[in-house]
């Protein structure tokens, strides 16, 4: 057969590699900044740099910008070689690259300004959501085009992981981003309360699974054998690893919602599948590590392999910890504490970070046709990074445990030993400081890598189009009898994609459809009423400021939770919450029952300066809420949007909404005046106070009526 000559596109690989380094630097700098805010709250300086706004910027930058570009770098390099074909279309590659970078810039320009949908790890607003969907589909188009014109019949296991990534992320992103726009920069999710929580964490957990894990496993199966110059330990195991993993992962989401108002059966389902995940995860980890069998002497010498070994080890630790954390008893300890933060950073810094670094050190010298500038600096990076991970994770594990132990401690008389939540925060200050030191170490290693790579790039010259040759695939279908499934499937990427989609849809549908359909899952509580216009505006400010990044709104049915905050949360309380604001971390106390706990003036002064009401508080100051005027032009359209979503405001309510709003605002202003606080009635703080005072109010009202 005639051999064809073609070339691999290295330029696009280079572009994604540089973007990975650039955005990694930005994301980690923001991460360090927010870590320091725990120790020095004055770093919250201006509204745009408050923790609640920067934390989503950090997570989005690190996940979608740093790891995202890392995925594309690795996929564009390996896919071409595995398929023995150039990328399908250079223009699509370009659109993909620049489109993705524009999305990242858009994120950086919106999140600090409070433009957010308030759903964790999916904070970007609807116009950006649409852009993400389009650019992602361009990536998929380019990938499948390449697969279809490949010159190698067998689809290597890595490609399977890429395909599953593409298919599942498409599905997750679309389902979770179904939202109703009220303006260019504001939308409400169509789901409310418990349903929103289920969809969100179905998405959230699978973002971990299919954005941070499966693509990187694909990269692991390509780059580790390449770097070690030996085949993967067991190819058969890798096939089992793939199918088992994608089948189990999609069901695990509810483990983020244990002890919450999510129906019990959904929680248990999440636990069972989360626990089973340990098998494929560890199968994959062992497969990666054993690839180095008989080559451990190379690990001593080769810095690329060092990074990769630590990455796989971190993957192993995080995927052992994950199933453990999904057990209810352990989750009761870890949930809402810094343990979770430590857990995700072992994954992010260790698994994603170190694998990315290993690939960069391996790949840049190859496409630039020159040796790495300095092996010594790369080794320094390795040790700084490893120490950084330890200094980051260990103090936070300690902090998580400490905080739990303090939360749940009762005196002999049966009272909370630490009734003041703040005590359980100030206790953690040394750990927070150590965590920031860990961040500095990790980041300095990263900067050294950037320098090392710039030097390498300057010394070499990019081989933009790498010549290659291979024979085209024959057209004849050699579907002889007795051929097994694996042969059949690997020759048909479209079927493979459909099959992956089918597998993940089952997982998602089985969990979600019943919750939507069975009304008994969400008991309606008669006393729960829609938010007043002022409260709705206040709630949107709460979302805008990212209060959920530090405050939960979910009292679990655990004695130490109910003693501290009040009656446990019911599903029926959240039916008007678009989006739900249960949160996932308690740096501050839970707010589900805060309504009526303090007078209006307390909230006013607390927002002005939290330390005035709670000495030692690390909450940012929100003085700007006291100065900024509330935008009431949006009230009517927001009410109409809520009506569309099924919130039972009376017909024509949007027309009188602002009148109602002003009435309530005047009441609060009057009440503040009595306590000696003079303020105009049109400030944002009035709406925030109205919302905070409403939290938990309805459930208390229902008790008053039943007790009478």
């Amino acid at each position: 057969m005639e051999v064809e000559n073609f070339s691999y596109d290295n330029k696009i690989v280079k572009q994604f590699a540089f973007a990975t380094i650039l955005w990694g630097l930005v994301g980690m700098l923001v991460g360090l900044w927010v870590a320091l805010q725990f120790v020095y709250p004055w770093l919250n300086v201006i509204p745009q740099t408050t923790f609640g706004r920067l934390r989503p910027l950090h997570t989005n930058a690190v996940i979608f910008a740093f790891v995202g570009n890392g995925i594309f770098m690795g996929v564009y390099y390996s896919l071409q070689r595995l398929c023995k074909a150039r990328m399908f279309n250079d223009t699509l590659s370009k659109i993909h690259f620049w489109g993705w970078q524009l999305i990242i810039v858009a994120a950086a320009l919106t999140l600090p300004f409070g433009i957010t949908s308030g759903k964790e790890y999916a904070e970007l607003e609807w116009p950006i959501d649409i852009a993400i969907a389009i650019v992602w589909l361009v990536f998929g188009w380019n990938m499948f085009g390449t697969i279809l014109k490949r010159r190698e019949r067998h689809l290597y296991v890595g490609i399977w992981f890429y395909i599953a990534t593409f298919v599942t992320v498409t599905l997750l992103h679309v389902v979770n981003s179904i939202e109703l726009p009220v303006s260019l920069f504001k939308s409400y999710p169509v789901y409310a309360g418990v349903q929103d929580a289920l969809v969100q964490w179905w998405y959230g957990h699978n973002a971990v699974a299919f954005f941070l894990t499966t693509p990187y496993l694909g990269l692991m199966y390509y780059f580790i054998p390449k770097a070690a110059e030996r085949p993967v330990y067991s190819y058969r195991l890798s096939i089992i690893h793939f199918w088992a993993l994608i089948f189990l992962y999609i069901w695990a989401g509810p483990h983020h919602l244990l002890y919450t108002a999510l129906p019990d059966w959904a929680q248990s389902l999440g636990v069972v599948f989360s626990f089973m995940l340990i098998a494929p995860s560890w199968g994959g980890m062992i497969n990666g590590l054993l690839t180095l069998r008989g080559a451990w002497d190379k690990v001593r010498e080769d810095v690329v392999l060092k990074f990769m070994v630590v990455a796989i080890t971190a993957y192993g630790m995080a995927t052992f910890e994950g199933p453990m954390l999904s057990l209810k008893k352990i989750n009761a300890v870890a949930h809402f504490t810094d343990w979770i933060v430590a857990h995700v950073h072992v994954g992010a810094l260790g698994w994603n970070g170190f694998l990315t670094f290993g690939i960069l050190y391996w790949l840049i010298p190859r496409i630039y046709r020159t040796p790495l500038y300095s092996k010594k600096l790369a080794n320094v990076h390795f040790w700084l990074g490893s120490l950084g991970i330890l200094f980051y994770a260990v103090p936070l594990y300690w902090a998580g445990f400490t905080q739990y132990l303090m939360w749940q401690e009762f005196t002999a008389e049966g009272f909370l030993k630490y009734p003041n939540f703040l005590e359980t925060v100030t206790q953690l200050m040394p750990m927070y400081a150590m965590r920031a030191i860990g961040g500095v170490l990790y980041l300095s290693g990263f900067i050294i890598m950037a320098y090392n790579i710039i030097k390498t790039v300057k010394a070499g010259s990019l081989l933009e189009n790498e010549a290659a040759q291979a024979a085209p695939l024959s057209n004849e279908e050699d579907g002889h009898k007795g051929e097994h499934w694996h042969r059949w499937i690997e020759r048909r990427p479209v079927q493979l994609m459909l099959l992956s989609l089918v597998v993940v849809i089952i997982g998602g549908a089985v969990e979600m459809i019943p919750t939507f359909m069975i009304k008994s899952n969400i008991p309606t509580i008669a006393s729960v009423k829609p938010y007043t216009p002022l409260e709705l505006q206040g709630r949107d400010i709460y979302v805008r400021e990212g209060c959920y990044t530090c405050h939960s709104q979910m009292v679990r049915p655990l004695r130490f939770d109910t003693e501290r905050y009040g009656e446990y949360s019911k599903a029926g309380e959240f039916v008007y919450d678009h989006p739900f604001q249960w949160g996932s971390k308690r740096t501050g106390p839970d707010l589900a029952r805060v309504g009526g706990k303090y007078p209006h003036s307390w909230h006013y002064n607390h927002m002005l300066d939290p330390t005035s009401m709670s000495p030692g508080s690390i909450m940012p100051q929100y003085a700007f809420l006291l100065d900024d005027a509330l935008d009431t032009t949006t009230t009517a359209v927001k009410i109409r949007a809520m009506q569309t979503l099924g919130v039972p405001y009376p017909e024509g309510y949007d027309k009188i909404a602002n009148k109602e709003l002003m009435k309530q605002a005047n009441e609060i202003t009057e009440s503040l005046k009595k306590d000696g606080v003079e303020t105009a009635n049109d400030r944002e703080i009035i709406a925030v106070i109205a919302y905070l005072q409403r939290l938990g109010h309805d459930i208390k009202a229902s008790h008053n009526t039943t007790n009478k």
């Binding site: 070689r81 190698e152 030996r230 190819y235 096939i239 040796p371 010549a467 499934w485």
Partner: protein, 66 residues
């Protein structure tokens, strides 16, 4: 509205059938070649290498000589 849910449930059942068929395939099928691909990926650069003046091997050489 209910029809939509019925459709979804139906598609789920079809999907489960797909899955069962797939698992049956896994159990019934033979892995007649579950080794070669893992080795092949290591060599796909070799073809190109012979054409290059500066080969990946020579790069490695320079790296180790550093």
């Amino acid at each position: 509205m209910e029809a939509l849910f019925v459709l979804i449930v139906a598609s789920v059942i079809v999907a489960v059938g797909f899955l069962i068929a797939f698992i049956w395939n896994v159990k019934d099928g033979q892995y007649d070649d579950d080794y070669t691909p893992s080795v092949r990926i290591l060599f796909d650069d070799e073809v190109i290498k012979e054409k290059k003046t500066k080969t990946p091997d020579s790069i490695k050489q320079t790296i180790t000589n550093q």
